[in-house]
């Protein structure tokens, strides 16, 4: 088909699908659909965003994805970006049926982005922000040399999961109210400036005025405030422990309190941190979001006029999407099944549910829309994964025993709780800064909040040098290995460990 013609056909389908989706009360932003060749989709997929900065780790991800595509091992049909308007990229070479399914799927994703609570704070202008950030990083490469910038980025990226997406709810992790105002406002205008911003907010009392994002360039205005003196050097009133309360946001802490950082380095930390915070809700709602999109592409496709071949092709593609795996939980599958189950149970409550929960029945649709608005994966699984689903679809937990991977749990409640446990903190270990001036030597003392699973020691020993690179002084990390408390220390040359 001629490209122009293809676009015409596609437009007609989008028109039709959009109408159906609206009829179903899906509520999405304006959509930009863009047809892209495979390598472009894969590059977006590996960067998470078309405009993101350059780094070899993205090149590695891109290489892997593209190789899998080239060998026909996997295929992304689409890529959708949480922005307003919403960008959706369709893979060139998708068949018309595949594209129809993808369009329906994408509209539901967009509805989810727009309405789920956990996205309510994310910037919808991230395409531009990331592009501006990428330019800044490029300018640092010119100024300070590629290798220097790259190796600093290596270090920051290795710590990118150590942020705290809930900082705005409970800043500093604590009750200390004096601090809250200033930090809230810092958060409000997306603290890129770091220390300056903190001190600026606190010292001149502008904190309140600054709150609320007015322009996308606020982070640049913040540069003016960098002149202010550091609080702790200045007041000398009382020795305040830094941080006052254990700080989960390592990047935030290091950006603010790192003594030896140059401004470009603080900026890089803030860029990586902001981008991580942007992606965090997506990681937090992966099962729901994919389940929701899968649920709706099914519903919408059912409303469409498909001939026999098309119906078969759709069924095949859909089956591929929800295929189970013995080593993983397929989020498309699990999310879909839970949404379907909720709908069924709220449409046809049992006698007991009717009475006990005052559930009249026929509320299925309403309920799933409510769930998509208020939950994240943890609460979704915790509240709505039922015994029926676990048993009917043969979900289990497994573990390594000797050389074997063995099934350990089949009871539905342990399976549910196990899945929830793995979702906690998006599956990353919970690590906090205990002391930013350990031993009064300016060293940083981290603590792994051990919740039953040990850390990967091989990785741990190789990540500490990255912390050192950012912090500039010795790094300690306390954790538990095989039931014993251990502190690992990296002093710039080697790692040592000590039982305590």
């Amino acid at each position: 088909m001629h490209p122009q013609e293809e676009i015409k056909v596609l437009e007609k389908s989008i028109e039709e699908i959009t109408t159906i989706a609206k009829k179903f009360n899906l509520d999405f932003y304006n959509m930009y659909f863009e047809i892209c060749p495979a390598d472009i989709i894969y590059s977006f997929g590996s960067y998470g965003m078309p405009t993101r900065f350059s780094h070899w780790t993205f090149g590695k991800a891109y290489h892997k994805m593209k190789t899998q595509y080239d060998y026909n091992l996997s295929r992304i049909y689409e890529m959708v970006i949480n922005t307003d308007p919403c960008y959706a990229f369709l893979l060139e070479g998708n068949s018309l049926v595949q594209n129809k399914m993808v369009i329906a799927h994408v509209l539901a994703h967009c509805d989810f982005f727009k309405n789920n609570y956990y996205f309510s704070r994310t910037s919808r202008k991230m395409v531009e922000s990331m592009s501006v950030a990428a330019d800044r990083i490029r300018s640092y490469e010119f100024k300070y040399g590629r290798d220097k910038v790259e190796s600093f980025l290596d270090a920051v990226i290795s710590l990118q999961q150590n942020v705290d997406p809930e900082r705005h709810i409970n800043p500093g992790g604590g009750k200390h109210s004096g601090r809250r105002t200033s930090e809230q406002s810092c958060q409000g205008h997306s603290c890129t400036g770091g220390k300056c911003c903190q001190d600026g907010c606190r010292q001149d009392g502008r904190g309140q005025n600054d709150s609320g994002r007015t322009t996308p360039y606020d982070d640049l205005w913040d540069l003016d405030k960098r002149e202010c003196k550091g609080k702790y050097e200045e007041t000398g009133e009382e020795a305040i422990k830094i941080p006052e309360h254990p700080e989960k946001d390592l990047l935030f802490f290091m950006m603010n309190y790192g003594r030896d950082l140059q401004e470009w380095q603080r900026d890089i930390i803030s860029i990586v941190r902001e981008e991580m915070l942007y992606f965090w809700p997506q990681m937090q709602t992966k099962i729901m979001n994919e389940g929701w999109a899968t649920y709706w592409h099914m519903r919408i496709m059912r409303e469409m006029d498909l001939n026999e071949d098309e119906a078969l092709e759709f069924a095949k593609t859909h089956a591929g999407v929800i295929q189970p795996s013995k080593y993983h939980i397929n989020p498309y599958f699990l999310g879909l099944k839970i949404f379907e189950d909720i709908e069924k149970r709220w449409d046809n409550p049992t006698a007991e549910e009717k009475e006990r929960y005052d559930r009249p029945g026929g509320e299925g649709k309403q309920k799933i829309f409510e769930v998509r608005e208020t939950e994240n994966d943890i609460s979704f699984i915790r509240n709505y994964l039922t015994r029926d689903i676990v048993e009917e679809y043969d979900l289990y937990l497994y573990k390594k025993v000797g050389y074997d991977w063995k099934v350990t749990d089949k009871e539905w409640e342990s399976v549910r709780d196990g899945l929830v446990a793995n979702l906690y903190n998006c599956g990353f270990p919970y690590i906090v800064v205990e002391d930013g001036d350990f031993g009064k030597r300016g060293e940083i003392y981290l603590k792994h909040v051990h919740e039953g699973t040990d850390l990967d020691i091989y990785y741990l020993e190789r990540t500490l040098p990255h912390v050192y690179k950012v912090w500039g002084r010795a790094v300690h990390l306390e954790t538990v290995v095989d039931g014993k408390r251990v502190v690992f220390t990296y002093n710039g040359e080697k790692t040592s460990k000590k039982f305590i």
Binding site: G59, K326, D394, L419, D454
Partner: protein, 385 residues
Amino acid sequence: MSGEYTVSREDWSLHRKGEIDRERHREKVREAIKKNLADVVSEESIILSDGRKVVKVPIRSLDEYHFRFDTGKQKHGGQGQGNTKKGDVLGSDQKHFAGPGKGKGAGEEPGVDYYEAEITIDELAQLIFEDLGLPNLQQKKKPELASEAFEFKDIRKKGISSNIDRKRTILEALKRNARQGKPGFGKITKEDLRYKTWDITHKYESNAVVLAMMDTSGSMGPYEKYIARSFFFWMVRFLRTKYQNVQIVFLAHHVEAKETTEEEFFTKGASGGTRCSSVYKLALEIINSRYNPQDYNIYAFHFSDGDNLTSDNEKCVKYVKELVEMCNLVGYGEIEGPYYHTSTLRTAFKKIVDPKFTSIGIKGKGDVYPALKTFFNPHPENKVQ
């Protein structure tokens, strides 16, 4: 009003970021391979690659480290086809050895993420050979194996169009225009055209012959043979890549020595006792009859587990001394097995003190690359003692 849409198809041909970062990643992979050459050189998948063009090299230094859980101690979720029971085994890592610094098992199980880089054997060879060269190479009297070489030396007005010398042609056009009082660049006319043309010259190369000697006696187990063959595998490749006219003679021995074809040398095993002097004697005979040291740079390398007949050691020392006289370099590599080991031959060789004789011990796979570097050190005078 929400829910409006547009569809477009843009020209993405200039969007190169993914490719550029991929290239940067590739560069880093090459750096990492270079750092790990000692491990990579004796990687079985390469030695046994059977001439396959692309090999996979396990690399660990390109991992993206971050704080993470020990996947081996963690419970994971999965989904069966129905009827999965507690205690069922989903898969096994038996073949792989987990441990710090070692690759964990590959597969789709959790926590498996060591990086395998794909690299062509030629690329790998290039990395390995970068610092290698034949030591003490001398210009010999009879460069009979000189090869023909083409050199573009002359410029003519006639020629074939693929040999147009663009720069000179443009210069001619400019000159012609200038002569006619028209500054700048106009049309190129036929008379402006200039062609490069070549002369045939002779490129003289030093002649070299390498005697590859390997112990194939019964005491050489699969491991010892593997080490020796790894060395010779790269040696042969190296010589053929870097030097045009080098000849390689393959000699295998147990109690007796014989000249073999390359294929036999790399594939055939043997058994029986060991008499190393036999191979040295054969080497001397071959040199005397075919490779006059006046005309050839001669190199002799011998790999053995050192488990020689004690009565034979004296003879070996005598022959090796003779070899050293005639050769640019004589190298002896002794593979120390993982078990009980008596190093009789290498001890005997301690008597030979000559800069042209090098003897090394090989304890494991990781020592193959250092052995290559020691034997093929183009500047032996810089050798770290």
